[in-house]
Symmetry: C2
Amino acid sequence: MSGDAEADQGAGEARRMHRPTMGDVAEAAGVSRPLVSIVMRDAKGASEATRQRVLKVAAELGYVPDDRARKLRQKSSRLIGVAFWLQHPFHGDVVEQLYLAAAEQGYDLALSAVAPTRDESTAIESLIRERCEALIVLSLKEEAKHLQTVSKRVPVISVARRLKESTVGVVRGDDRAGLRMAVEHLASLGHTRIAHIDGARVPGSVERRSSYRKTMQRLRFDEHIDVVLGGPTEEDGARGMAELLSRSVRPTAVIGFNDRCAAGALDYAIRAGLSVPQDISIMGYDDSRLSRRTHVQMSTISQDTQTQAHQAVRLAIEQVNGMPAREVIVQPQLVARETTAAPPDSAAEISRRS
Amino acid sequence: MSGDAEADQGAGEARRMHRPTMGDVAEAAGVSRPLVSIVMRDAKGASEATRQRVLKVAAELGYVPDDRARKLRQKSSRLIGVAFWLQHPFHGDVVEQLYLAAAEQGYDLALSAVAPTRDESTAIESLIRERCEALIVLSLKEEAKHLQTVSKRVPVISVARRLKESTVGVVRGDDRAGLRMAVEHLASLGHTRIAHIDGARVPGSVERRSSYRKTMQRLRFDEHIDVVLGGPTEEDGARGMAELLSRSVRPTAVIGFNDRCAAGALDYAIRAGLSVPQDISIMGYDDSRLSRRTHVQMSTISQDTQTQAHQAVRLAIEQVNGMPAREVIVQPQLVARETTAAPPDSAAEISRRS
DNA sequence: GTGAAAGCGCTAACAG
DNA sequence: CTGTTAGCGCTTTCAC
């Protein structure tokens, strides 16, 4: 089960390379510590000659500044903590953007993962111990109470989850607008029998459900309103689709709560022998990589992760500077790809619409 | 696009709560700093009475020890850095297990993500600045050279990627054994026409491909050996399946390079009107959450992320203690679920085998 | 069992 | 432009 590789490096005792310290560099370069500090930070206050010499010596010694010590000394750590779910495509997208957004503001990120065996409070706790100046929490569960408590200790920004707590900053997509766009997109293609597989108790599902209903009513599709119980996973979507396909009159289009849900629904429909989008149109929500992943590109609603990430960082810094928490709502965008098209009997439907 | 929430907390100036320090707790509890330290670390050297009092005061003040300062002072940081890909289910699984494994050894984890806009060297660089004692790198790209350089500075463990560099520790699944198990599983169900959609240039694909061939030969299925170009994504799998289905004589079973590849193949087969596993059996590799995600549970080869994570942490600590880098190979395991069954003409096939 | 003193690696204030 | 002094928050001797 295991075997040694050829070991050509120093054997036995801990001969771990003593990492050079700033003092070592200073000594080797024949200057004082603060000067090395100045050079390493690229601050002004050192002559070009010294700068070059110090840089050269540092490189030779393989010196790397110690972020820990640096942040300890500085009054502010310029560190933003991020709690996110491993295994969640949307979170992955946001985290990637957060790195970019934070860097633009001169902040570093400290990541702390949430997973089935690692709960949200553990993740947050570790970020606090690392002395993050603010926390950005990408969450799924509704431990709002806990977040509120934490927010009294350190600024907290919740992404993609609405919260009543006024001490917690919120960045979220406009779920109502998003679902409205989805329904309208399908309607414009000629659909009237548009169903929705909802997100059950997941944050955001109430808004999406209600916006779906309202939009259907506004379009005078009242009689076709059809919401089935779903959830955030592929399995939920498949279950929802199973239920929809058992209807005596099937919908011609289905909007899933999110991409994973829609992917499950898509999966189920195809296994049931339907063609997508010829027989039935399907839409997701999030525009996570997942929607581009299957070899049929899924139509979806983009949550604009880039903007959400930038706004989250912005709110975080605001709150660090003592400004009150606020809520920022980011407009979603329609991304029409290959899983939506006119319904089978499109002519008839279109005539009914006008 | 944005609006203020009701702001009931302190307005204007930075009134960020001054985080209590150990000194504050000591003063409030009427003891010295070191004693508070002892109590917070749960070390021995404090009477039960003091311990309780300090704990009570600390809780009241909302004191949280500063990990940064702590690790700075301690000779060893007891920190393991992890570079992983956001958006990669298998990596997510491993990271989750790494948290568990590291905690068992009294180590903390520092996460640094790799993504399209954030390359591996950036991720690694940041971990080094944080003074991690060792680095665990879950990688996809083959920047072996760079890893070797880094490994001269700090112990590096590569997970799921073979490396010749003897200064880098390696933990990986036994790809040859895994593919052998897959072929044998299908053979035992009665298949002979077993095809393989490979991983192209992805680490591990050479071993899997060659093991597939060898096992097929050993089973006397030489004439049915069929390897098509694939890759690590759903799209690659779909492409591979398309090619396989265009054969004059189609295979009755297909082994994908990994779960994503197999999922794409599965997807394509079903769209092509085939039933799985009735018409064709499909196997994945990794046993990532993805294989359990689709509503049809996929048969696959488990890489045993738990063991790999534990071994990675173990190697990391070994190397920190000055032991030479080595390679640990973890045995994979067959996970037979719902996408594999006897071939359509099973009776005939089985008679041929014996 | 408890406290005093020192110092981890770095940067911020100052002085020269 | 450069060096000296101090101290971030904590843990580690080592006395008492």
